[in-house]
């Protein structure tokens, strides 16, 4: 175990394996260290492996070659996922609602219901969120992809079935279908392209092209 100072050979082996670009056999190690005694090298490697046991890195043998690697239980540190919570954009919310109320629907149908063009990124976001899925193709010319909501969608929104979505009558009763007055309409129109109402997202629903997906990646350089 650890606790003792490494001897010269251990130090040499440690440094060599650290700097090596490839895993090394004991023979290669011994050769590199000026034809060191093979049993001595083997013993040094064994002691080093002992020393590193339980640390953040370990010395492992794979098909007779030795190398350092990050301890498997810490592998998550190498491929780290960083979650960020973002509010769904208004465009995406609308698309989601349309899919929920009208499923299965094609993108063209969504657009005709919304009355505006829908960026592909908007649909992608909903797919990524796991709320809509491709439910096949409509058997019409062009065979467009059709979308439907997922079980996750129901779960997230606390619905038993899609039938639990409030009906149009209820929406009307709640004032959600009231004709929007002109001022409000104007507000919507000016707001929408910048997506002010919808959180810090880039995609708006106006005739934007499909780069939103790309842009999302492009930004946010890692630190």
């Amino acid at each position: 175990m650890s606790g003792t100072k490494p001897d010269d050979l251990q130090r040499a082996v440690e440094a060599t394996l650290f700097a090596a670009e490839e895993p090394m056999t004991l023979e290669a190690l011994a050769g590199h260290l000026g034809d060191a005694d093979l049993p001595a090298v083997r013993e040094a490697v064994r002691q080093l492996a002992d020393h590193y046991e339980g640390r953040g890195i370990e010395l492992v043998e794979r098909s007779r070659k030795w190398h350092f690697q990050t301890s498997p239980d810490l592998a998550h540190l190498l491929r780290r996922e960083r979650e960020q919570v973002r509010r769904l954009s208004r465009a995406a919310t609308e698309v989601l609602a349309i899919v929920a109320y009208h499923e299965p629907v094609s993108r063209a149908e969504i657009e005709s219901i919304r009355g505006v063009q829908t960026a592909k990124g908007t649909v992608d976001v909903l797919m990524e969120a796991g709320w809509i899925k491709i439910a096949g193709r409509r058997e019409v010319p062009g065979r467009p992809v059709i979308y439907a909501t997922t079980a996750e969608f129901l779960q997230h929104f606390g619905l038993q079935t899609r039938k639990d979505l409030p009906g149009l009558d209820e929406l009307r009763a709640a004032g959600l279908l009231d004709p929007v007055d002109e001022a409000y309409d104007a507000l919507i129109e000016t707001d929408e392209p910048q997506g002010v109402a919808d959180a810090p997202e880039t995609e708006a629903d106006m005739p934007r092209t499909d780069q939103s997906a790309i842009e999302d990646d492009g930004k946010e350089p890692g630190e």
């Binding site: 440094a15 650290f18 690697q69 190498l78 960020q84 969120a129 709320w131 709640a174 959600l176």
Partner: protein, 272 residues
């Protein structure tokens, strides 16, 4: 003399270390190796010569240094070596410095040769200090030469994953907005009570037929009309009055600007 040619020649001589003074091997101090390419300019050569005095740079003899430099240049010329202008300019300046230093004190100019000599010394010290510092710097444990980084690092990667947020209210509100926005818009123009010009003409001309007296415009308006109809009737009746006057069927009088407008039938007219 440009150092371009030197940039890598120094390397060739440097052997294993990154830097050694060119052509400055121990034991050669009596017969200086004549190779101007080895120096980074006249100051460098001067520094090298000064070092040969084997004293602290603060204690060198400038006079001796000048002699050595001039001697060196002379020998180079004797060997017909091509001398860069820099070296010759320095030689001329040093010759001048030497002669001033040898002059009697009172004839000295400003700046004094002592000052010039001292400044030369200071420059040599500074160049020497940097030269030594460079050597010490190069001798440090350098990555890739003395110390090594991990040969095959796994690398760190951060995948960003977005947790999208939306709730039921936002959802149905969104749907409501779509519906509201795209509901077919029906534009209805509300019916408003108006009196057309035709009906005003009828009304005014028939009322004019009844009497020959002046009547104010207001008297032609329908009584008890609601205010909006009354406004419309006033406008139409006014235009009707003008029209009747134009046709010679009525005459209009007004006593003052903005005063009451009166109207009456022209005699002989309208009775038929």
């Amino acid at each position: 003399m440009s150092e371009n040619g030197l940039m890598f020649t120094a390397d060739d001589q440097a052997g294993d270390s990154d830097w050694i003074a060119p052509a400055t091997k121990e034991g050669e101090d009596t017969s200086l190796y004549l190779e101007l390419d080895g120096w980074e300019g006249p100051l460098d050569l001067l520094l090298d010569l000064a070092r040969r005095q084997k004293v602290d740079l603060r204690a060198i003899s400038i006079l001796a240094l000048v002699d050595q430099y001039l001697d060196y240049i002379d020998r180079a010329e004797a060997l017909k070596l091509e001398l860069a202008a820099d070296y010759l300019v320095m030689a001329a300046w040093l010759a001048y410095l030497k002669s001033s230093m040898l002059l009697p004190k009172e004839e000295q100019e400003d700046p004094s040769p002592e000052e010039l000599a001292l400044k030369l010394q200071l420059r040599l010290q500074r160049l020497g200090a940097m030269r030594e510092s460079a050597a010490r710097l190069m001798a440090r444990d350098r990555i890739g030469r003395d110390v090594f980084l991990r040969g095959a690092p796994e690398g760190l990667r951060i995948d960003r994953k977005t947790q999208w947020q939306c709730d039921m209210y936002m959802l149905i509100q969104g749907y409501g907005q779509v519906k509201a926005r795209t509901a077919p818009a029906v534009h209805m123009v509300r019916e408003r009570p108006v009196m057309t010009l035709e009906s005003a003409l009828d009304r005014v001309s028939s009322m004019l037929g009844v009497t020959l007296d002046w009547m104010t415009l207001e008297e032609f308006l329908p009584p008890h009309a609601e205010p909006r109809l009354r406004k419309s009737a006033l406008a139409s009746s006014f235009v009707a009055a003008l029209e009747l006057a134009r046709m010679g069927k009525a005459e209009i009088s007004q006593d003052e600007i903005f005063g009451e407008m009166r109207l009456r039938r022209i005699r002989g007219q309208g009775a038929q």
